[in-house]
Amino acid sequence: MLRLERRPTPSRLWTAATPVLAVIATMIAGGLLFALLGKPPVEAIRTIFWDPLFGQYASYSRPQLLVKAGPLILIAIGLSLGFRAQVWNIGAEGQYIMGALFGAAVGLAAYPADSVLLLPAMAVAGACGGFLWAMIPAILKTRFNTNEILVSLMLVYVAQHMMSAASFGLLRNPEGMGFPGSRNFQQYPAAFNGELIPGTGMHWGVVAAFCAVIGAYVLLSRHILGFQIRVAGEAPRAARFAGVSPALLTSVCLGISGALAGLAGLFEVTGPAGQITTDFASGYGFTAIIVAFLGRLNPFGILLAGLLMALTYIGGELAQLMLNLPAAAIQAFQGMLLFFLLAFDVLANFRLRLAKGARA
């Protein structure tokens, strides 16, 4: 019988090796799945993992990886700070939506403004939107001891309904021929978050994501707040003796993650998505939770996890196009990848030991 024995500290070797193992395992299991569907397994795997990076049209798909990964990374970085401190914000999707709504509302209220300050003002509004939405679970948690997992999740649904109401009402494009949805920011230069250098996929949201990665790394390794976050997560009692206020820490963690999610929403709506519609939110906020864990709550890990996630989206699309794989197969494949990544994670924190009966 195998048994697990907790390592005193997570193994560095295994922390690095497990994602590789998991990807290999997924390739094998996914290959079997594709073979069952009557598709060439090796070609399918190559199309998903290789072609977007080094294939014929990689010069297009590589920047697209950044576009897809940007919001995931930005949100996941914020979430990871909270997760480290045992503050469970799983409502990033709602904060992402509210950020987009707040920011878009500022931009659309000023229409047709032509000021270089507009986009920054919208970014501030977006961050505020996400921040305020995250403050609801924070205040309820600190005041009434309400579970933040559940409140933040409930607020996702409220935000989704608000977005639907906004795209039919307040933010609806007056020139939209009666269709739901706001004006398109791509045709509103002062508010448009376009590519900074053409052909690179870099827009302000991606820049913000990279800044967040570095910022989080510095925060966690150098700053007192980062220390408090880590202590609160690893040894809550010790943290209290060290003078960390749990209420303040909860608010700070939720606030940062909400603001970053809101920022991600704003940059997405003013850039790649272009407009507020009923279908604007495509689950980035939930996917980012997975990204945070895949990245083991480490800033650089999250960067890689976000890019890997984006790779499966874009590669999956290519596989659909070139091999006629159904979209459902790609979704199941992504699910499998996540299962393997989560499963192999155990090796970083535990040692596998052969149990020797009662003597152990």
Binding site: R143, M162, I289, A328, Q331, Q334, F339, L342, A343
Partner: protein
């Protein structure tokens, strides 16, 4: 205009509309009482919906369909159980992955089953009871699964409150370390709870594809699993209140559609938010009173357990 809505029919139809989320929420309640948060309800529901549909179509028996749905939901939840209980993966992330996988997997195996009519699930014939005024249409004219869901509410309630096994389950959910110290098999108990939750979610899904819609289409649960999660919280982890919560959530949808049908102008989006806001309010009320909160919310919810001693 509102007067044209028949309250008796309204109640009867909200019971049917609420049955899928009631079943799924009851399962999740037991899972959470054991201290496990499984966010994969949506994935398990839709897997149950297609598994039940396939079994019912292939055998011609809705009963076989429901059995298969429960088995499929439980099978999918087993992945979650293995990952979170043996490999100690994070429950939130694993649950989300389970939903992603379940939606894709169900669409994949359901490809040959779109556009088929499943065998009809007959209404239970309760003879003269069905003809009783008022309570006849409300209580005695449903299909068997409505009664199964109601019986399950009672059964889960009795199990958690009165039985020894229920007591142990709650103990595990409160403090796995203490339960472990007392010699209970924390992991085994949690796995059983997760399987039960999966089976219930599967049943709820099959109720959608076999009775309520009845049809298989990709993505047909359309968020019902997430509502089930909300209901558990709304109910503050009590089976009786799960029933009330499911009927409230199902009822708001049915009511707003009925109001529209009766010609009453209502702001649909704002009304649709209401149950979630009420849920938050309920959470605040029960959490603010710490002595009562302790009785309901499982203290070890969402935390991994590893017997390190």
């Amino acid at each position: 205009m509102i007067g044209s809505i028949d309250p008796i029919l309204l109640i009867a139809s909200l019971m049917v509309a609420s049955t899928p989320i009631l079943l799924a929420a009851l399962g999740e309640l037991v899972v959470e009482k054991a201290g496990v948060l499984n966010l994969g309800v949506e994935g398990m529901m839709i897997t149950g919906a297609i598994a039940g549909f396939i079994a019912a179509v292939e055998t011609g028996s809705p009963f076989a369909g429901f059995v298969a749905a429960a088995a499929a939901g439980a099978a999918l939840s087993l992945i979650f159980a293995l990952l979170t209980q043996f490999l100690l993966s994070n429950q939130v992330a694993t649950g989300l992955a389970l939903t992603l996988f379940g939606i894709g997997f169900s669409a994949l195996i359901g490809q040959g089953y779109t556009g088929i009519r499943p065998p009809a699930t007959p209404r239970l014939d309760l003879g003269p009871l069905s003809d009783l005024p008022v309570i006849g249409p409300i209580l005695f004219r449903h299909d068997p699964m409505v009664y199964v869901s109601l019986a399950l509410v009672v059964a889960v309630g009795l199990f958690l409150r009165r039985s020894r096994a229920g007591l142990i389950l709650r103990a595990v959910g409160e403090s796995h370390d203490a339960a472990h110290a007392l010699g209970y098999k924390v992991v085994r108990i949690r796995i059983l709870a997760i399987l039960f939750g999966g089976a219930c979610a599967g049943l709820g899904g099959a109720y959608l594809s076999l009775v309520r819609v009845p049809q298989w289409t990709e993505g047909m649960t359309a968020g019902a699993g997430w509502i089930a999660l909300a209901i558990v919280v709304f109910a503050s982890w009590r089976p009786g209140r799960v029933l009330a919560g499911a009927y409230l959530f199902g009822g708001v949808t049915v009511l707003q559609l009925n109001l529209q049908a009766a010609g009453v102008a209502i702001p649909v989006q704002y009304l649709s938010m209401a149950p979630y806001l009420i849920t938050i309010l309920v959470l605040v009320v029960i959490s603010a009173d710490r002595s009562r909160a302790a009785l309901n919310a499982p203290a070890a919810l969402g935390k991994s357990f590893h017997a390190s001693s």
